[in-house]
Point group: C2
Chain length 343, copies 2
């Protein structure tokens, strides 16, 4: 077999505000790979099945001079994200051809992995879609599950407000909160998302583009838990409508990602007056503590239909640039994934 083109998604140009769907990320087929003879040097050759596209990627699409908590992607190189791939060849005794691996991989149709640190083999005896392992059964699902276990301190009868409640993290949070007997207020940006949030159990679901978050919280609050994906004005409203001892779980500040920075928090005084707890959540902190419980619990619940979940599926790595913009603008309905190959 001779070398074939290996399509990759390259970080081409740092965006100023929203990424440009044509110039920020570009699909490139100039590199080739020989699936039979490319040297593995003790590693494995995999074929990508699915990639996740997430809002946090925006923060890494910057020039390396701009310091931040995460590493900037290298210009001219493929970006990386969560993925499931199938093993085509292996020189690693622990990994066999035909097995599936989950990890943080370069957006390429094929790639060779030498260092398997952090890579997990996925058996999928539950038989759910491979794409789910990058969403509800992957990083976003874990974010909800770990954060809920570690920080929510939920008590039956309490009220939670979940932002981006139709997204992969938010929809999981809604379902975990309902399992624990909470009243759930949830927001999203379209009527179909509102309907989905109601379908999965939200007691009060609303479209923040057409209804006033302030009015909703005034009517249905105060809130004991605030699950924050957005920051900015909504965080300030949540501070006003927080109950005493409320827990704020901070997962994202998407309002600031494309507007030159995080918006200042105006109503911080409520932290003192109401004895609030604000907790930054990073999923990676809990992998060791809760990882096994998650994989033992969640894929089975998905297979049995106990946890509901939506995907926003695009096909082919060519769609990455546009899909990232969709995700950042909230135009996706469900977890954004790119299917690269079915098997």
């Amino acid at each position: 077999m001779s070398p074939i083109p290996n399509g990759r998604v390259i970080f081409n140009e740092a965006p100023v505000a929203y990424p440009d769907p044509r110039t920020t990320l570009v699909y490139d087929t100039s590199e080739t790979i020989d699936l039979e003879t490319s040297p593995l040097n003790g590693g494995i050759l995999v074929k990508s099945l699915v990639f996740s596209i997430d809002p946090y990627l925006r923060g890494r699409l910057r020039s390396p001079e701009t310091k931040s908590y995460n590493e900037a992607f290298a210009l001219g190189q493929p970006i990386r994200n969560f993925s499931v791939a199938v093993v085509l060849r292996s020189e690693n005794a622990n990994v066999k051809v035909g097995e599936h691996v989950y990890g943080h991989f370069p957006l390429a149709e094929y790639h060779i992995l030498k260092d398997l640190t952090g890579v997990r083999k996925i058996e999928n005896k539950e038989g759910i879609a491979w794409s789910h392992y990058t969403g509800i059964a992957g990083m976003p699902g874990k974010t909800a599950y770990y954060g809920w276990k570690a920080y929510a301190k939920a008590k039956k009868g309490e009220t939670i407000f979940v932002t981006t409640g139709a997204g992969p993290v938010g929809s999981m949070v809604i379902q975990l909160a309902k399992l624990d007997g909470l009243k759930v207020i949830a927001s999203a940006g379209s009527s179909e998302k509102v309907q989905f949030m109601k379908d999965i159990g939200a007691d009060v679901a609303f479209n923040y583009k057409t209804e006033s978050t302030d009015e909703i919280l005034k009517k249905h609050g105060p809130i004991d838990i605030y699950w924050d994906h957005v920051g900015g004005e909504v965080l300030d409203l949540a501070l006003i409508h927080a109950a005493k001892f409320a827990r704020f779980i901070e997962v994202g500040l998407i309002t600031g990602y494309n507007s030159g920075g995080i918006q200042p928090v105006k109503n911080f005084g409520n932290v003192l007056s109401k004895s609030l707890t604000i907790q930054g959540l990073y999923v990676g902190n809990f992998e060791e503590q809760y990882g096994e419980a998650f994989y033992n619990d969640i894929p089975g619940r998905i297979a049995r239909g106990e946890i509901k979940y939506l995907e926003y599926v695009k096909h082919g790595l060519q769609s990455a640039g546009q899909l990232l913009v969709d995700v950042l603008k909230g135009d996706n309905f469900g977890k954004a994934v790119i299917i690269v190959a079915d098997k």
Copy 2:
């Protein structure tokens, strides 16, 4: 015995920025009291020995239309604060003449207490100054002690940054942190305060008016615990210089009290990127949980000289108006108290 004038500190006028030492609070002697015949209606008549003057009072000196977490003081009435008083007469079977009581009392030379809810009898077998029970062995000391127990999660070798480190809360925090083996960075606003912070164990003590907090934290940080009395720009710097998993204990935002409101928090993104915990501390939440431990532990330590402590003493209720301004401007050196009578 005939009625005598009963000096009281009246809330006369709501201030716009800093209180005016002459018009915000006024000392008033127009009311009289007969110490032998004034009816008690089942209560107790007490003579005030000492009152605490604290920055938080500023928040209650407002017109009642301005909503806040605490109740506004009533215009034309005495303000209230923590006090130790001696019992002159009693119709309550649980309280005897000559006993001492601690509570949140009206700033008056004499007053009659009917409801003893929240009032604590103080035996003081340790023989420390009564004034200490409104400071290091009172609300400020408890704020430090309770907050440390509940939220610090201190580990030996970690670094803490304490603001207003020469104050009654801050100086206790410094000493608790040193007992637990932490490295202590502490700030205050004069060279004598800096010297005092060094004397009680601070590893790095600095005058924030003459040295750059940013430079100090850059050099001696990152910080694992931030004990915040000030908010504003210093809070934003602490967010920048926080270590991963740092705990922020929020006790006061004094920067905003006299400048028309709390300053917005600019660097909130660090909460996510460093998995920070921000905790609003209100001393009253822990009275039941830690109150007995505190009174069993701290007065004895003070008597034995194990915990050091400074007071800024004024005599007579006439000094209340000016003393509050001093406290808000940080012109006091030590815990501000008003001695009304020695015994």
